[in-house]
């Protein structure tokens, strides 16, 4: 395990840096209060510091300042000093590693080795040295077993965080900053991640600063705890042991929302009083889509006034089951039946209910609150569901306007959000968003309330408020179903548990939707320089733009089919890729046959259109040309990894690397966004946004879903940009761990492409079919 230290014998670089803050003050350009002021602290080299404080105490701001990522627009924003080994942190003279909480945006590249190398490449370290550091860094974080070309998208959240840590190690920073590294990681992933961090600090000797609100995992391993106060400096600076012993301190921190070690619950468990049955699942099997993994059979009875907790390992389909119970997904097999008392005049399958009827009966709270926000203010958000909720029979409204106002007012008061009634829901704090998202669903008073990981990542204060709200609902006779890992919550809700294990006979779930970086295999074409392939495809196809004739198109189509074995494509796989193109070709041909220029024999007359010999020939040529333009691209796509193409573009064609790598980093998020788009559709149905209704309503609903996707995309972009900047991206020239080369074979491929293009056009000219489109 000591490989990182041993192979890099330059001991001078392998030590931590010292940090000194003197009267440091920082204010965001658009805020009235400083985030940090009067900060005086000294952290010696190699120390391990736990940095805590209530939200708004400037913890993240301080980490960003130390990483040199704060932008200084105006001089009055900043005063005092913040020094790393004696030089200004803003000058970024020393490499600093930073990890944030969202695993998806801590990874930048699509292959494991590329991601580890990314930061070191940005620091312009010799590729030879980077290639040595990659396996060492992966070993140090416990990911030594991963193949170098493993797709980063297939890692779990905890593994993604450890991969990001390996990338930080490969930069050999003297300071490592971790901003709530475990907040978005499942409980089983926390320990390995924590151990990887401690091991990395040990091996590198780097100074370590960890911000966390769950102190259990960290407290006993740290040298020092620093507590910040909102808008100010250091409130406490103490020995970690006092987090266990000092009752006064524990009470103070707990009050500030922190989970102190060995925290004891103050809430008493709910008194459950089972009433009538509402839902029954019989041998129920759920799946996200027809082609994705299925859950085990589930048998379950849900009674009013009781709580049920769904537990189980990752990949068992807990969320999928919750979506099915919530009437948002259709069951694959078995039955889910609502009793007459819940259905209240509707059919007994919740999936068949329209959105307005569903939300009045079963409410679903999604894990990410922002997925369910559909309006511009807190007030409208709370009124949204009751305005649409349908009562018995699913026709008449459940509430009149006055009742809606009353419900909104009482919920605002209950949730403590009165002062935010007009605020945009997206601008609330994390805890406020969580409370609001539960409130919006409660607003339609559903008899069954389903929550997916409601307490995940929440601070202790939000936790207490949520738990008391849910207990209150139980006492009112609501049935609660929760997917959770949270032991405390299970106890407080006094819940029955069902355990879902992963179906053993199935391969692990694959990413849904389109994949841009599918493995390219090791075919002959896969080893050719991407630019040579791109050039060949361009040279072969672009001449076709000048002519509309069947012969030149046919030459390219035949030549492409002959080359397919070189790309290792079987006819079946080829057809799977090519059929949309075939259909497009046929549609194009039909369009021209219908409206194209008429000449010769008339075959048919359809209203104002006529199909003639001339228009049919034009149609066939158009269809073939469309097919011939597209087909060679399949060769390029199946044999080329986008990252390699990007590397070649940047190294060999001098395309600016910031744009190439920025584009690649964005493209890595494609699969994730496709998934998010479908989740958004379900989350919005759970709020009462229907997928039925008039044409305009449906278009409106779709546009809203697109906007919601953009909000999530922009949030991710912001975090990804911070990650990339922290890894030294864009500050100067960089090196490339994978060096692009151009060999004789590559030149031959390019030449073949050129010849093919010439052959196609030449053949058409010789045969007299060449038909210049601008003629």
């Amino acid at each position: 395990m000591s490989s990182v230290v041993s192979s890099e014998a330059t001991a001078a670089t392998r030590r931590g840096t010292q940090i000194v803050a003197q009267g440091f003050r920082w204010q965001h350009a658009e805020r009235e209060q400083p985030a940090i002021s009067g900060l005086d602290v000294q952290i010696s080299a190699g120390q391990k510091v736990l940095l805590v404080g209530p939200s708004g105490a400037g913890k993240s701001t301080l980490l960003h300042a130390l990483a040199g990522l704060l932008e200084v627009d105006e001089s009055e924003q900043i005063s005092g000093q913040l020094l790393i080994d004696g030089s200004d942190a803003f000058a970024r003279e020393h490499p600093v590693g930073l990890m944030q909480q969202d695993p998806e945006t801590q990874v930048v590249q699509s292959r494991v080795a590329d991601d580890v190398a990314f930061g070191a490449e940005n620091l312009a370290i010799d590729p030879q040295i980077i290639r040595q550091r990659i396996p060492e860094a992966l070993e140090a974080v416990g990911l030594g077993m991963l193949p170098m070309d493993h797709r980063t998208q297939e890692l779990s959240g905890g593994q993604k965080q450890r991969l990001a840590l390996a990338g930080i190690l490969a930069m050999q920073p003297g300071l490592m900053l971790l901003d709530e590294p475990t907040a978005n990681v499942d409980p089983e992933g926390i320990r390995p991640l924590r151990d990887a961090v401690l091991n990395a600090a040990q091996l590198s000797g780097a100074t370590l600063i960890v911000v966390e609100h769950r102190l259990d995992a960290w407290a006993e391993h740290m040298d020092r705890v620093i507590v910040l106060e909102p808008g100010g400096g250091v409130a406490h600076d103490l020995d970690p042991q006092r987090l266990f012993d000092d009752q006064e301190l524990r009470a103070e921190l707990s009050q500030a929302g922190l989970w102190v070690p060995n925290y004891q619950l103050e809430l008493t468990a709910a008194q459950t009083n089972p009433q009538e049955q509402l839902l029954e699942a019989h041998d129920l099997i759920s799946a996200r889509t027809a082609s994705s993994a299925r859950t085990q059979k589930v048998n379950l009875k849900v009674r009013a006034g009781t709580a049920t907790v769904i537990r189980g390992e990752n990949g068992a389909g807990k969320s999928t089951l919750a979506l099915t119970l919530g009437g948002l997904l259709e069951s694959v097999a078995g039955e889910l039946q609502a009793t007459e008392s819940l259905a209240n005049g509707l059919g007994n399958s919740p999936f068949s209910w329209k959105a307005g009827a569903l939300i009045a009966r079963i409410g679903s709270v999604f894990q990410e609150p922002e997925h369910q926000f559909v309006t511009q203010s807190v007030c409208e958000e709370l009124a949204f569901a009751p305005l649409r909720a349908k009562a018995s029979g699913g026709q008449e409204l459940k509430y009149d306007a006055q009742q809606v106002d009353a419900r909104v007012d009482s919920l605002l008061a209950r949730l403590g959000l009165q002062h935010l009634a007009d605020a945009n829901p997206f601008t609330l704090s994390g805890g406020e968003k969580r409370r609001l998202s539960v409130g919006t669903v409660l607003a339609a008073a559903p008899e069954v309330l389903i929550l997916d990981e409601p307490t995940f990542g929440q601070d202790a204060n939000t936790w207490r408020e949520l738990a008391s709200l849910l207990v209150e609902q139980l006492h009112l006779g609501t049935a609660i179903i929760a997917v959770t890992h949270d032991e405390h919550l299970v106890r407080v809700l006094n819940a029955q548990e069902i355990h879902l294990s992963a179906p053993s006979d199935q391969a692990p779930a694959k990413t849904r939707g389109p994949v841009l970086d599918a493995p390219v295999g090791d075919s002959w074409l896969a080893k050719i320089n991407p630019l040579a392939k791109l050039g060949a495809v361009a040279a072969a196809t672009l001449p076709l733009i000048t002519t509309l004739d069947w012969l030149s198109a046919l030459v390219i189509i035949v030549a492409t089919l002959l080359v397919f074995p070189l790309a290792g494509l079987s006819p079946a796989r080829f057809f799977k890729r090519a059929w949309p193109l075939l259909i497009a070709g046929v549609v194009a041909a039909w369009g021209i046959a219908l409206v194209g220029q008429d000449s010769g024999e008339v075959y048919a007359q359809l209203g104002i259109f006529s199909i003639t010999e001339g228009s049919v020939q034009g149609g066939i040529a158009t269809g073939l040309r469309a097919f011939a333009l597209a087909l060679p691209c399949i060769l390029l796509l199946v044999s080329t990894n986008p990252s390699d193409l990007g590397g070649a573009l940047s190294q060999q064609l001098r395309v600016p690397h910031r744009f190439v790598l920025g584009a690649l980093a964005g493209m890595r998020l494609l699969g994730l966004m496709v998934e998010e788009f479908s989740t958004l559709g379900l989350a919005r149905r759970a709020r009462g946004v229907g997928n039925f209704g008039t044409f305009t309503q449906r278009i409106g609903a779709k546009l809203g879903q697109c906007l919601a996707l953009l909000v999530q995309a922009l949030r991710r972009a912001g975090r990804l940009a911070v990650t990339m900047e922290a890894k030294g991206f864009g500050i100067g020239p960089r090196t490339w761990m994978r060096t692009a080369t151009f060999s004789a074979k590559d030149a031959a491929v390019l030449l073949v492409g050129l010849l093919l293009g010439a052959l196609a056009v030449g053949a058409a000219m010789m045969a007299g079919t060449y038909n210049l489109v601008w003629g």
Binding site: Q376, N424, F426, T427, G513, P514, L516, T541, L542, I545, L548, R577, P580, L581, V587, W590, V595, G596, Q597, S615, G618, G619, T622, A626, L629, A630, P632, C633, L637, P642, R658, F659, G662, A663, A665, G666, M667, L669, L670, M673, V674, F677, K702, L703, L707, L709, L710, V711, A713, L714, A717, G718, L720, A721, V722, M724, E725, G730, V773, W774
Partner: protein
């Protein structure tokens, strides 16, 4: 100070590049979902294929939206071209020619923003950018790339007008509304457009 100010207005920061990339990718997802739901309209187009030009705007919005959000020279061009690459990777119908289309469409919008020297981001400029993006797309498809070489002259003109209108509404108007909506959520807080919802447009919708 002036120089530094000017640099900040025109130079691309890392967050600008990453945001523009992610907007293009999100647009790719929207194209993808859009093509999946395309069946809704396709019946109409089997009856009269040239009408499909009215939907071209959907393929143009990344140009205008990207420029309105990033507010940097080249944003329209970059977003539209990257969106076209994604479209190609997802199995587009047009092969490498999407790169040329992407360039032409992005250029139409980019020229409008350049004409106002990247200083105005209001509704009229946005509508104009959408219109030009559509016209460029239509002219290129009908006369330069000649996808519709078999169309009669009247149909070619119809095609150009239809793509222009589509660009104006979908790329111009919807992008402007979307930018305001996004600014309200605080999702643009790190970008030059963070106050877009507070800027008054002459034809402000709300």
């Amino acid at each position: 100070m002036n120089q530094a100010g000017a640099k900040q207005r025109t130079g691309w920061r890392v967050v600008d590049i990453v945001t523009a990339s992610v907007i293009a990718v999100a647009s790719g997802v929207i194209f993808w979902a859009w093509s999946a739901g395309y069946g809704l309209f396709s019946l109409a187009f089997v009856a009269f294929p040239p009408a499909s030009a009215l939907l071209t705007g959907v393929w143009l919005f990344p140009a205008v939206l990207g420029a309105l959000i990033i507010r940097k020279p080249g944003a329209a061009l970059y977003c539209e071209m990257l969106a076209a690459v994604i479209e190609a990777l997802l199995g587009s119908h047009y092969g490498l020619t999407v790169l040329i289309s992407g360039f032409v469409q992005g250029l139409g919008a980019e020229l409008v923003f350049a004409a106002v020297r990247y200083r105005k981001w209001n509704l009229s400029v946005s509508l104009l950018a959408g219109l030009f993006s559509g016209l460029f797309a239509g002219i290129s498809e009908a006369y330069i790339m000649a996808y519709y070489v078999e169309y009669t002259p009247a149909l070619k003109i119809f095609h150009v007008i239809a793509t222009g209108i589509s660009g104006l509404i979908v790329a111009g108007l919807l992008s402007w509304l979307a930018t305001r909506g996004l600014a309200k959520t605080g999702a643009l807080s790190a970008l030059a457009s963070r106050r877009a919802h507070l800027e008054t447009g002459k034809l402000a919708a709300k």
